[in-house]
């Protein structure tokens, strides 16, 4: 039997990430378990990304979009060209540990979707010492609670599953939550998403990072809640819990920046959704973020 890595095609979407994309690609090429191919989708970058990609020569395959289509559509484009039976994704500001693919495939064969934990790294790539490990409880909890740490940079997905659910959502209003929506669609189609409870990739926290901007959360995560409700495939209790979770996350993002007015608005929404346990939890999170906002400690740098 051939090495399991040979069934995996890696897709890396990128847009104006010249400072990081080289490190991301190198981390894939340095894998102990070599993947079948590396496809980089240059989503119409306007910086020096195209030149940088040329330096990798034949070791990667580059396709470039004519207009910026954003990350969901870019991943789908790459996936459509992939020849492997499974797809792995990496965001161009994140990195893989050298043993990532080997350890993940040893734990879960590429015929089932899987995600792993992440280490949080800083702008310069240094480990911050913090980890985010998704819970191994029921899938439902994974999807409600681990809203952005089921990072696409850790996903391995059978191509069959990817095609069955129609890939990542491509509408612009969902970009940023497209990864979570994709996981929800996998769940609805019955695919068991396995969790490898080890941090095998570096998730970069940087001022230009998407999750650092409350406006992004507000736009895409709330739109995704709306989508969840409209599909009518999840219990109303679950939808309410998700709304509670998201509103809390948005409120917290405003609180730590000491932007009190939108923070108040979203806190109000958070505490009117979800069951008692959800609300209690959001009160705890809100209190913590308020403390951060008032003291000014750990305030994120502006973009």
């Amino acid at each position: 039997m051939s090495a399991p890595g040979q069934s995996v095609s890696v897709v890396i979407p990128t847009h104006n990430r010249a400072p990081f994309v080289g490190e991301a690609i190198s981390s894939v090429l340095a894998q102990r378990e070599r993947p079948r191919e590396v496809i980089v989708v240059d989503d119409c970058s306007e910086d020096e990304t195209p030149e940088l990609l040329k330096r990798f020569g034949d070791s990667i395959r580059v396709i470039r979009t004519e207009a910026n289509v954003e990350r969901g559509a870019a991943r789908n484009l790459g996936a459509a060209l992939a020849t492997g039976e499974a797809l792995a994704f990496l965001d161009s500001d994140d990195v893989w540990d050298t043993g990532k693919l080997r350890r993940q495939l040893a734990a879960v064969p590429p015929s089932a979707p899987s995600i792993t934990g992440v280490r949080l790294i800083g702008t310069a790539g240094r480990d911050t010492g913090r980890r985010r490990i998704p819970a191994r409880r029921s899938d439902r909890e994974i999807l409600i609670d681990n809203y952005c740490f089921a990072s696409p940079s850790t996903m391995v997905v059978p191509k069959l599953a990817f095609e069955e659910v129609g890939g990542f959502p491509v509408q612009r209003r969902y970009q940023g939550s497209e990864d979570w929506m994709f996981l929800v669609k996998l769940l609805w189609a019955g695919w068991p998403v396995k969790v490898v409870r080890e941090a095998l990739a570096g998730y970069r926290l940087h001022p230009g990072g998407w999750t650092q901007q409350p406006e992004n959360l507000e736009r895409s995560m709330w739109a995704a809640c709306q989508w969840l409700e409209e599909q009518r495939l999840s219990p109303p209790r679950f939808v309410a819990a998700r709304r509670n979770w998201v509103a809390t996350a948005i409120a917290c993002a405003y609180l730590v920046r000491a932007e009190w007015s939108p923070a108040r608005h979203w806190s109000g929404i958070a505490v009117t959704h979800g069951g008692p346990a959800d609300r209690l939890r959001s009160c705890r999170r809100l209190a913590k973020s308020t403390a951060r906002g008032v003291t000014g400690l750990w305030r994120p740098a502006p973009a």
Binding site: S138, G190, W191, R232
Partner: protein
């Protein structure tokens, strides 16, 4: 009630005689007439069993300008209302039957017409102007529809055997489907036993236009809006809806009867029929010469109570000669052993009537299975940490297993063993013939590692995770309605009745009844240990008290004893003999062990052995001849 088939193509012309060959293969579905529509790039064929509009109803049916052609398998119960409405809008009708409303509704609404239909159906509409084909199946999947697609063509048929008469469809086995079959005893939609053939799932429609197709779901049960009325008001509403559903299904221009098992559901249907009809209802029951499974006395008591014209059949089943026939009819391996008594019952009933009502669907709507009570009882455990549950599960695993694997103690043991699992995995375990772990031991390594190994698990999981229900009971019911009911129960009824050219109708699967049941709070379905609480209560005055208290049995067969005695050599020869073609899938040692344990009476392996036997028979009578 009919068999439909057809092919559309944008490329190569359709082979001459193909449609006739497809119709011929499913002629038993509708022996009364055959109709064919032929147009460039589109041919449709239908075998019709005349039930309504005996003179002018032969299909295909056309719109006024003949640009729309329709073939229908099934019945549209609300066709009279629809017809009146369409006539008011200026449509002219050429026939008196139900098929024609589809043609005119299509002109008004296009594919959206499915929302207006109430009934059991699988139909095809060919629109010559747009060169598009619409296929649709009823909300719960009472009528089957198989299809296969190529780059620029699509073929469809009511039965798998008819569809595969089309030579452009490769007959290559789908190993993942075989694994699904072994796991659950059936192959769920959209898959089939052949890699290139699909089943259209219930409540779905398919639109094919110039070589491209799209599939969408058009209906699902809503469990989120609950009723707050008092039990008395709920009972009244329930009786009103069940009564209406039964009366709607008594409309036919041929004799109508009812299958009476003596259980709650079929007795209720018979009672409503008796109330609606001026004459005694014709009731039909079956019993075996093995007293343990004989339900005849219970059915007889109900029939006497209702003053019915009761017919009883006692058979000594000749499984060896009937089984291959059933297997050929369905064309796919199918392991529900009650297909056998259902077939006998259908065949004997057909001698008297053309249409038979039944009680199917009551258990799925009103919570009639032990697993509904049991899973509800253990649902709170999902909030307890796995660390605490694990010791309970492993201790339960060490309890002694009963030899017959039946009854409350062995069920409780199985339930306790699974407390460590998540809800979805626990349910999967309960409904599995071979659990995932057993399948691992059974399958030969080469076969197990074939394509798509997670498919069996996905079958239940997709139903589980798309059940938009807040209560754990509703979630179980929703999974039953979306998996067990359409892929097992309804398939069984369709195979058994169609093989006998009898039309089955199920009032408890009426849309109004099912939507009402979904809107009931959990407490009115299951009380602590009482299943179908409201349904029993609503009819307690109209049926014998003993019937309403009775335990569930359905049309069961004495499988364990058959396999130990009458079928002993037959099974051994089939599963372990030199022609055992399935051996490339399963490890012979595992089969040998299972058979040994069963024959020695150490354990009841009857469901497992039966499913292996049916797979082997399918190979012998369908797969091998098809390949030759």
């Amino acid at each position: 009630m009919c068999g439909i088939a057809g092919k559309v193509s944008e490329g190569e012309p359709i082979a001459p005689g193909l449609i006739e060959a497809m119709c011929e293969r499913q002629a038993h579905r509708g022996p009364d007439s055959r109709g064919v529509h032929r147009a460039p790039g589109a041919e449709l064929g239908v075998q019709r069993l005349r039930v309504i509009d005996l003179d002018t109803g032969d299909q295909p049916i056309y719109s006024e300008d003949r640009s729309v052609a329709v073939i229908l398998n099934g019945e549209i119960y609300n066709f009279r209302e629809l017809r009146r409405e369409l006539e008011r809008r200026g449509h002219r009708f050429a026939t008196k039957g139900d098929t024609e409303v589809i043609a005119h509704l299509y002109e008004e609404h296009g594919a959206e017409l499915v929302h207006r239909l109430d009934g059991m159906f699988a139909f095809a509409v060919w629109d010559a102007r747009r060169r598009s084909l619409l296929l649709a199946r009823d909300r719960v999947g009472k009528k089957p529809l198989f299809y296969a697609e190529g780059d620029d063509w699509l073929s469809f048929a009511s039965e798998l055997g008819a569809l595969t008469s089309d030579d452009s469809i490769a007959r290559a086995l789908d190993p993942a489907s075989i694994q699904c079959y072994l796991a659950y005893g059936y192959i769920p939609a959209p898959w089939s036993v052949w890699r290139d053939v699909r089943k259209l799932p219930p409540a779905h429609l398919l639109v094919w236009e110039r070589g491209r197709s799209r599939i969408e779901r058009y209906w699902s049960l809503d469990y989120s809006r609950k009723r707050g009325e008092s039990p008395r008001e709920l009972e009244e509403e329930l009786r009103r809806r069940v009564g209406a559903a039964v009366r709607r299904r008594m409309v036919a221009d041929v004799p109508v009867g009812v299958f009476l098992s003596g259980g709650v559901d079929s007795s209720i249907v018979a009672a409503e029929m008796a109330a609606a009809s001026g004459q005694p209802v014709k009731t039909f029951s079956i019993g075996f010469e093995d007293g343990r499974y004989d339900e005849l006395p219970r059915a007889r008591a109900v029939a006497r109570h209702l003053g019915a014209d009761h017919h009883e059949f006692v058979v000594k089943p000749d499984a060896i000669s009937i089984l291959p026939k059933l297997v050929r009819h369905y064309g796919e391996p199918f392991a529900d052993s009650s297909a056998l008594p259902s077939f006998y019952l259908a065949e004997l009933t057909r001698r008297q009537v053309t249409v038979a009502l039944n009680g199917d669907g009551g258990d799925e709507s009103f919570a009639g299975y032990l697993r509904h009570v049991a899973n509800r009882a253990v649902a709170p455990i999902d909030r307890v940490s796995h660390r605490l549950r694990r010791p309970v599960a492993s201790a339960a695993g060490r309890l002694p297993a009963g030899a017959d694997g039946r009854g409350i103690p062995s069920y409780a043991r199985r339930l306790l063993q699974s407390v460590d699992l998540d809800g979805v995995d626990r349910y999967t375990d309960h409904v599995s013939v071979f659990t995932a772990a057993e399948l691992d031991r059974l399958l030969a390594p080469g076969f197990r590692d074939g394509a798509d190994p997670t498919r069996p698990r996905r079958v239940i999981r997709r139903a589980w995770y798309t059940a938009a229900c807040d209560s754990s009971l509703d979630q179980l019911l929703s999974v039953d309605v979306n998996a067990y009911l359409p892929y097992d129960l309804l398939v069984k009824m369709d195979i058994a009745t169609m093989a006998a050219s009898l039309e089955a109708r199920s009032p408890l699967l009426d849309r109004g009844v099912m939507e009402f049941a979904a809107s009931l709070p959990a407490r009115s379905k299951v009380s602590l240990f009482r299943k179908k609480w409201l349904l029993r209560r609503a009819y307690r005055d109209r049926l014998p008290a003993k019937t309403m208290r009775g335990r569930k049995q359905g049309f069961a067969v004495p499988l364990d004893s058959w396999l130990r005695h009458e079928l002993r050599d037959y099974v051994r020869e089939a599963l372990l003999g030199p022609t055992a073609l399935t051996r490339s899938y399963v490890s012979p040692a595992a089969v040998e062990t299972m058979l040994g344990e069963h024959l020695a009476g150490r354990a009841d392996r009857s469901a497992k052995l039966w499913s292996l036997l049916m797979l082997e028979l399918w190979h012998q009578s369908v797969a091998t001849p098809a390949r030759a």
